[in-house]
């Protein structure tokens, strides 16, 4: 498997066939870890992003490998889109030494600095200032890198959001704050937790351009992010993007979904699934047939099944690993 499928064609436009593959990889990865959990193979928790694949692929997926992402607890899509090795992600979920974090992070902390994934975070809103710091590094080093910082709608009520946006604005840092507004912070409807219509309005009070987009339209996401990236690279400073989307599953594994109606879920799942929307477009444009798509999906399922079977044979950390990496080693 090649985790670094180029998402852009020669003319710089998004290659929607590759993008669809990435979106299916994310969905199938999550369906499989859910299944592993149901089978009792998986220790720990997970937060599924099924239904939000367009924000991952249209965001992290269009960055250069040297650019950074900062992710959240709902991170699998972001990690895969940025090119994190999927085998190592399965291994991390299954608590293997071969995991991205050698089994010490688990779902919520998957990181892979080699492909620009600065890591996922279990503290809501903590990524905002960290992303500003990474962007400050890029600015001070003159590296031309940009940072894409994901967060959920609920995170915009954390103080760290407001502190970081202000800092990013006064220093004109090359960072894009990307809010995946999936309508709920755990069980709390964002409608009841803020008294404004659009979260992107919050950029204005920090002198940052704020945009609200359809987060389930891959092209719209990718085009908006591409513009913000170009602006950041050219010294134009930060952008706040709010992408409207929906998580099909509960907040985490223990969510009984008491706070939203079945009708609402059905509406999003049936008529506004980002994968279905992209597939419809590809079929209409004669780029793929329904059969091509089923073959693609099937091949990913087969590939991932073999991966999981192989990962299950990997070694687990030993008791010695409990004590390693508490402190970084000193320079020799």
């Amino acid at each position: 498997m090649n985790p670094k499928i180029s998402m852009t064609e020669k003319n710089g436009r998004l290659d929607n066939v590759s993008a669809l593959r990435k979106m299916w990889e994310i969905r199938i990865f999550e369906e499989m870890i859910q299944q592993l959990f149901d089978e009792g193979e998986l220790h720990g928790t997970m937060h599924l992003c099924i239904g939000q694949e367009a924000t991952a692929v249209g965001g992290a997926g269009i960055l250069d490998q040297s650019d950074w992402i900062v992710s959240t607890h709902r991170n699998h899509g972001h990690c895969i889109a940025k090119g994190t090795d999927i085998r190592a992600m399965f291994a991390e979920m299954l608590g293997k030494k071969t995991g991205t974090n050698e089994g010490k992070g688990g779902s919520m902390h998957i990181a892979d600095l080699d492909v620009g994934n600065l890591g996922s975070n279990g503290i809501v809103g903590a990524g905002f200032p960290i992303a500003a710091g990474a962007a400050l590094s890029a600015q001070m080093q003159g590296s031309n890198q940009v940072v894409l910082c994901y967060a959920g709608d609920g995170a915009t009520n954390e103080g760290s959001f407001h502190e970081a946006l202000n800092l990013a604005s006064i220093w004109q840092l090359p960072v894009i704050y990307f809010i995946e507004n999936n309508q709920y912070g755990m069980s709390s409807s964002i409608e009841h937790m803020v008294n404004i219509d659009l979260l992107s309005e919050r950029g204005k009070s920090y002198g940052i351009e704020g945009i609200t987009i359809d987060g389930n339209d891959l092209d719209e996401v990718a085009q908006t992010v591409a513009k913000a990236v170009e602006k950041a690279r050219n010294g134009g400073g930060p952008t706040l993007i709010e992408a409207l989307t929906y998580r099909h599953k509960g907040h985490s594994k223990s969510d009984k979904l008491m706070y939203r109606s079945e009708a609402e879920c059905r509406q999003w799942q049936k008529y506004n699934d980002p994968i279905v929307r992209l597939e419809t477009k590809l079929i209409q444009q004669d780029q793929m047939t329904p059969e091509d798509i089923r073959l693609l999906e099937g091949s990913i399922r087969n590939e991932f099944s073999s991966l999981v079977a192989s990962v299950k044979q990997d070694e687990e950390p030993t008791s010695n690993d409990l004590w390693t990496h508490v402190y970084a080693e000193e320079n020799k």
Binding site: N101, L113, S137, M140, S160, A164, L167, V326, Y327
Partner: protein, 331 residues
């Protein structure tokens, strides 16, 4: 050797580090033209520019978080918290992020940042500007905690903290800023995790941290006239802790007083005491371990109340006499 103040020693270490390593930069509130709340960064922005000596908004969470993000991506930030009490506002980034990232990522990222801050009482600044909260940080795996007690240590330990590949919490004491000592002109490192015997003695050990080191030395001078020989041991770094040097000293004297300015209840003095109590020494001590620390009250602003809230030289003298009153076979 020339004599400079503790404050100048801190300033000099920052100056040298900025000159030596272009990855080093400073960020914090009022550290530029103003020179920092206590003057530790005086003149540095003029010399190194506003990019490397960065004034920030009043945003402790963003200061600490930006330091974490910059440290993970190749820089070596030194953040200043104007008063150590403000760590409450930066806590998530230091405790949940900086401390854990190296471990949580299986060793694949380092967070080489230094958090410098002014701590302690004695200036009448009241309950929100006078605390000694270093014990909070010492409780967190992944952080290192440094507490220099004199100018020489401040310079050498700060250099070592900046070169360290881990997040280091560096506690400077406000009342020590004006104290002076002999400090070499060139840059030098004092390794983290090595305690220092500030005074050699044979009858009783005082393990003292931060400003209590100075008070312990004063108490030692007073009881010397009565023929009591005090050994003063300064751990210098709470994490890593040089347990061996502490234990060796107490093995020799068989009597020990542990003294911190921080509130005694659940304070670092309890950890220091436990190091002795859990060692083989406990059964051989000539007197019970005595622990001195701050009273369990928010720091009052009024001068005499403030002084009563922390151990002073006379409380140390009394403790020494109390410990010496035990005969060896009594304990």
């Amino acid at each position: 050797m020339r004599t400079i103040t503790y404050l100048q020693a801190v300033n000099e270490a920052l100056d040298e580090a900025l000159a030596q390593d272009e990855r080093v930069f400073l960020l914090g509130e009022d550290i530029g033209i103003y020179g920092g709340g206590f003057g530790a960064t005086q003149g540095l922005q003029e010399k190194y520019g506003a990019q490397r000596v960065r004034d920030t908004p009043i945003s402790e969470s963003a200061i600490a978080g930006a330091a974490v993000g910059a440290a993970m991506t190749g820089m070596r930030p030194i953040m200043e918290l104007q008063f150590s009490d403000f760590i409450t506002v930066a806590m998530d980034q230091l405790v949940n992020q900086a401390a854990k990232i190296h471990y949580m990522y299986g060793g694949k990222a380092n967070v080489p940042l230094v958090m410098r801050t002014a701590a302690g009482s004695g200036t009448g600044a009241g309950a929100q500007h006078s605390q000694s909260l270093e014990n909070w940080m010492a409780h967190i795996p992944g952080l290192k905690v440094v507490q220099p007690s004199n100018a020489y240590d401040a310079k050498g330990l700060l250099h070592a903290a900046i070169k360290d590949n881990n997040p280091v919490m560096f506690y400077e004491h406000k009342l020590l800023y004006k104290t002076s000592g002999a400090v070499p002109e060139k840059a030098y490192d004092l390794p983290l995790g090595v305690a220092d015997i500030k005074l050699t003695g044979s009858d009783i050990t005082i393990i003292a941290t931060g400003i209590m080191v100075d008070k312990a030395l004063q108490a030692a001078a007073i009881v010397k006239k009565k023929g009591i020989s005090v050994e003063v041991v300064d751990p210098r770094t709470l994490v890593p802790l040089d347990e061996q040097t502490l234990i060796q000293s107490v093995a020799k004297t068989k009597r020990v007083i542990v003294a911190t300015e921080a509130v005694k209840n659940s304070g670092f003095s309890a950890e220091l005491t436990a190091v002795i109590a859990e060692s083989d020494l406990a059964i051989k001590l000539a007197a019970p371990i005595i622990r001195l620390g701050g009273e369990f009250v928010p720091m009052p602003a009024q001068k005499s109340l403030e002084a009563q809230a922390t151990p002073q030289v006379d409380s140390l003298v009394q403790a020494i006499e109390q410990s010496m009153s035990y005969k060896e076979d009594q304990a």
